[in-house]
């Protein structure tokens, strides 16, 4: 089973890297960009075929390591 975990900064948390990327896009002449927030994507392969068990495993992985829930949100998708 395959899954994708997306970790993003919570609203209101300053993201200096996102700001720098936003500035770089503007300097490249790419118009129409209001703001950029940078996050992380984890593509994970799981043993077993039970979707509920996989979701529980991924939630534990996010809470314990992949996300720092003080500043980050995470989203889990089973992709195949």
């Amino acid at each position: 089973m395959k899954a994708r975990v997306t970790v993003t900064l919570k609203t209101g948390v300053l993201d200096p890297q996102g700001k720098a990327i936003e500035g770089a896009l503007k300097s490249l002449g790419i118009d129409g960009v209001d703001s950029v927030r940078q996050g992380k994507v984890f593509d994970i392969e799981l043993a077993g075929a039970d979707k509920a068990a996989a979701e529980a495993t991924l939630q534990a992985a996010c809470e314990k390591l992949l996300a720092n829930t003080v500043i980050e949100n995470y989203r889990v998708e089973i992709t195949g």
Partner: protein
């Protein structure tokens, strides 16, 4: 006093910390490997040194904060034992939940490596009793992720309980954005746990213990540890 310096893959300030403890306390610390599950019996002080544990992968300090030895460090702190985390050690302390908040990328996106003045916010803790309250010291900073943030409630609590250990300032002790090297909230350079037995700080006092290398303002922190006693609540 008995000190243990935890070494993670990628730690690189353990040697400096050991020299500073030796110089400040007169006692020889022991190194403890991150995969160990116990601290040496009778340990009074645990130090998490600076460096780039696990190459700063995922988030600085994230993987080290979940290493085997950290359960023993948490138990040691819960017993009132002293814990000092410097630079990457501070990042490990916040990632492990021993201190609140997060250390974000510096607001200017640059790794800063320079001398920096700090204001000692209180001199009645196990880490600062050889300083005076309000004293301005000059030590080194070297980090890319030292921008301390926490939610409003946590910051309010830290300030109300007097748990800010050091603030970035100028040579006269004035704080303000001009002297803040990384965007850290309220110019915070280091914080204590609620029991004042855990200190995390971004600057490197261990580098300033010998006049040969630019100053001795960091030595008093290690001399303070000799008393070894947590602050009475």
């Amino acid at each position: 006093m008995k000190s243990a310096v935890v070494v993670f893959p990628g730690s690189n300030r353990d040697g400096d910390i050991i020299r500073a403890i030796r110089a400040g306390t007169g006692h020889e610390p022991v190194k403890v490997w991150h995969a160990d599950t116990e601290l040496p019996a009778g340990t009074d002080l645990v130090v998490l040194p600076g460096g780039f544990s696990y190459g700063d992968y995922l988030r600085c300090g994230a993987i080290a904060g979940r290493a085997n030895i950290m359960d023993a460090v948490r138990a040691h702190a819960a017993r009132g034992g002293l814990v000092l985390g410097v630079c990457n050690g501070f990042q490990i302390l916040v990632e492990s939940g021993l201190l609140p908040g997060v250390l974000m990328r510096n607001s200017q996106l640059k790794f800063v490596c320079k001398m920096q003045h700090l204001r000692v916010e209180r001199a009645d803790t196990p880490f600062t009793n050889r300083y005076t309250t309000g004293q301005v010291i000059e030590v080194a900073i070297a980090h890319g992720e030292g921008n301390y943030i926490a939610d409003e409630e946590t910051v309010h609590q830290l300030e109300a309980e007097g748990r800010v250990a050091f603030r970035y300032c100028d040579a006269d002790g004035q704080i303000g954005s001009r002297t803040n090297p990384n965007g850290s909230f309220n110019d915070i350079a280091g914080i204590y746990s609620s029991g004042f037995n855990v200190l995390g700080m971004m600057p490197h006092p261990e580098n300033l213990i010998d006049p040969l290398v630019g100053g001795t303002d960091g030595l008093a922190l290690f001399q303070s540890l000799v008393s070894g006693k947590p602050l009475a609540a």
